[in-house]
């Protein structure tokens, strides 16, 4: 095989023109910015919703004033975000019926307020341990822990009073009341194991790659069809070789994909940073797998070779077509066939099912990057290297085939079947034009 001599000045000129052209298209920026907006916006909305809990307030009406400090202390322990405040003097003087009226509007707030205040009003009866009717007004579904805590504090108060009445010293009563077993509960947070947590970010990378490939197909085809549909090929080919043009286009494509990846990964991290605390996940735990050496080397490699492998297919199809519409028509089934299994395989890999199928698919170069990205830290070195090498070899093979197809299609003036001529080019029929 003859390796074509390239004039790199030409290649870079083509690449920079194509890249700048891509930067000027609206669809590129929509892809770069709008897509990651979804998780970021989702994250912000989520944090808004979660942030509503900070507005919760507990007002304690305690005419005798014994229980309020104990309630406040206990509630503060279980729900540090909630304000516990003693009721204003005026409130404590109201009778039960009046209190009901006073809180009706509070508990059933006017409809038009989209974020009604959430709160509890706890009325400890006068003469507490003698009158044990503690009333609680709640504006919303009461939190389980809040009610339990109120119950605990009030029962402790009652038992204290009962024990001192029975002759125990207050200290002795307090000691007995404080008795409790040591319960140690172990439950993984939100039911996610550490192993699963470690998979989240790398799997997200695989999805980013998948989306990038699907979304970028459009401007790849655009770039490829541009010279042909703009009838510029001949003028260009008088100055540069087809290989230089193709190589420049490929570089421009990869540059654009790098911008895309950077934007999307950045947005992903931002969304994770915003969302994690509200999901009870640790941001550092999620991001840690990305900082391993394997990831730092492997992720860029698989992102680039993976997108190149699919970009080359797009380019080959684009090279066959006169117009963007025609190119899209040819591209759709290909993207569909290539990407549909990826989604399934990724799900199976995350769920740990169909391990045989996933293990096999990992050796199919088109799918390697999607399956190896999430599994970089769990796969054996040799298999990562072998699969990476296979993928790289596949890309090179594709590039060779593509130059062939590209030259074959250049300045072609027949209007025969695109697939037919694609196959003819692949089978190495004599180039008609070149």
């Amino acid at each position: 095989m003859k390796i074509p001599r390239l004039n790199w000045r030409h290649v870079l000129l083509v690449a920079s023109r194509d890249f700048r052209q891509t930067l000027r298209t609206r669809s590129f920026w929509l892809t770069v910015f709008l897509m990651p907006m979804l998780p970021v916006v989702g994250g912000l909305a989520g944090s808004r919703l979660a942030g509503d809990s900070e507005r919760e307030k507990i007002v304690v009406i305690d005419p005798d004033g014994h229980m309020e400090p104990r309630l406040a202390a206990a509630l503060h322990r279980v729900a540090p975000d909630i304000d516990v405040t003693p009721a204003p003097e005026a409130l404590t003087k109201l009778q039960t019926e009046a209190l009901d009226d006073a809180f009706r509007s509070y508990i059933a707030p006017p409809r038009e307020d989209p974020h009604p205040p959430k709160g509890y009003v706890i009325a400890v009866p006068r003469n507490f341990p003698n009158d044990v009717h503690v009333r609680i007004w709640v504006s919303h579904n009461p939190g389980h822990t809040i009610i339990t805590t109120i119950n605990d504090v009030m029962s402790t108060g009652m038992r204290d009073a009962a024990m001192t009445q029975a002759g125990l010293s207050p200290a002795e009563a307090a000691r007995i009341n404080a008795l409790e077993p040591t319960l140690s509960t172990r439950m993984p947070k939100h039911g996610l194991s550490d192993a699963t947590l470690a998979k989240i970010a790398p799997t997200a990378l695989a999805y980013i790659l998948m989306l990038a490939v699907i979304m970028s197909a459009q401007w790849l085809l655009q770039a490829m069809v541009e010279e042909r549909s703009g009838k510029l090929l001949e003028a260009l080919l008088a100055c540069i070789t087809p290989d230089e043009l193709l190589c420049g286009k490929l570089i421009a494509t990869l540059e654009a994909l790098v911008v895309l990846f950077a934007a999307w990964i950045g947005a992903g991290l931002l969304a994770a940073a915003i969302l994690c605390p509200h999901l009870g996940l640790s941001f550092t735990q999620i991001v840690a797998p990305l900082t391993s050496l394997r990831m730092l080397i492997g992720a860029p490699f698989f992102l680039l070779t993976g997108s190149a492998a699919l970009a080359l297919i797009c380019l080959a199809i684009g090279a066959q077509c006169e117009t963007l519409r025609e190119a899209q028509g040819m591209m759709m089934p290909v993207i569909f066939v290539l990407m549909l299994p990826v989604q399934m395989l990724l799900q199976m890999q995350v769920a740990g099912t169909a391990t045989q199928a996933v293990a096999f698919a990992r050796w199919v170069p088109i799918w390697t990057p999607f399956l190896d990205l999430p599994a970089l830290s769990t796969q054996a070195d040799w298999s990562i290297f072998a699969q990476g090498g296979l993928l790289l070899g596949f890309c090179i093979l594709e590039a060779v085939v593509l130059t062939r197809v590209f030259r074959h299609a250049l300045l072609r003036n027949d209007t025969g079947s695109k697939w037919g001529s694609l196959v003819a080019a692949l089978l190495g029929q004599k180039d008609r034009a070149l």
Partner: protein, 313 residues
């Protein structure tokens, strides 16, 4: 010095022989017309000279070197199919092509601005081609061919699709380039331009060269018809005039009939006039043929069979 020499090149596409054993050369400062009908092989020949496609056989030398992409720095090329990047400005387009042809960014910019100025487009230099009229875009494209001050200018059907003003502009540019010492080769099937511009021309028929020479040589090969009006039947002139056709059956004066007389090969109008006088023919008018390149082209290329009579090359 020869700017371009082509010797015995052939090219076929499948079983179709597009260019067949073509040889010619163009000197520096010369304007060379590359004429031929549709499908004659003009574009294919130009592509081979530009090294866009390789010839099956034969040799091409451009400015003393073998045909290669590297020559692009010295060549200006206007392809038959016109088009530009629609989302690029006129100036950026010129800079891009200038840089592809080896100019530095600053040179390309200053030359681009100068050309746009010359073509009356300096106000539009920074506007997108998409907003240009067809004629404006054509001017930009002509400028891309000239941006590197080429020593060899190759234009494929340069006048097609141009309005008369742009045609005149292009003619001026061709003359200017040739004044500056560049060799200009252009293909066309519009004969008037070739007639006005060419020092020499070549006529291609079905991939084969049928004629190469100066305009007067081309015209000399055409025996135009002499029109005369006489009383007698000019059949008597059989040894000079090959055939004779009545131009009009309904002449104003039935006595003096107009005749169109085709000269026999090798005989001139002077021979005919001399014979008339010698034979005592009464003539009321005798009009010399004024053949155009168009006539010459029809005469040369009109014989469709490739094995037809060869004209002097």
């Amino acid at each position: 010095m020869t700017a371009l020499s082509v010797s015995h090149i052939s090219k076929s596409f499948g079983s179709k022989l597009a260019v067949d054993d073509l040889s010619f050369s163009v000197a520096e400062g010369e304007t060379f017309g590359f004429l031929g009908g549709n499908g004659a092989g003009k574009t294919t020949s130009l592509r081979m000279m530009l090294d866009i496609i390789p010839p099956d056989r034969g040799e091409i030398r451009v400015l003393g070197r073998p045909a290669a992409r590297e020559n692009a720095t010295q060549i200006g090329f206007l392809p038959e199919e016109r088009g530009l990047y629609r989302n690029m400005t006129a100036l950026d387009t010129l800079i891009y092509f200038g840089r592809l042809k080896g100019l530095s960014g600053t040179d390309a910019r200053s030359r681009g601005l100068a050309l746009l100025e010359r073509f009356g487009l300096s106000g539009e230099a920074r506007k997108n081609i998409a907003s240009f009229s067809k004629g404006m875009a054509q001017k930009v494209q002509i400028a891309t061919a000239l941006i590197n001050r080429p020593r060899l200018l190759m234009l494929d059907e340069p006048f097609s699709g141009l309005d008369p003003i742009n045609q005149a502009l292009l003619e001026d540019e061709i003359l200017r380039a040739s004044r500056e010492g560049a060799a200009v080769l252009f293909s066309t099937h519009i004969m008037q331009h070739a007639e006005r511009l060419c020092d020499r021309l070549l006529i291609l028929v079905k991939g084969r060269k049928r004629f190469e020479g100066t305009l007067s040589e081309a015209l000399a090969g055409v025996s135009g018809n002499v029109t005369l009006s006489c009383r007698a039947d000019p059949t008597a002139l059989a040894d000079v005039a090959e055939a004779h056709i009545a131009v009009s059956e309904h002449a104003s004066d039935p006595e003096w009939k107009p005749w169109s007389v085709a000269l026999k090969p090798g005989r001139t109008a002077a021979d005919l006039l001399e014979t008339c006088t010698r034979e005592g023919f009464a003539l009321r008018s005798f009009e010399l043929p004024r053949p155009t390149l168009h006539d010459a082209f029809i005469a040369i290329a009109g014989t469709t069979s490739a094995s037809g009579p060869e004209y002097p090359a």
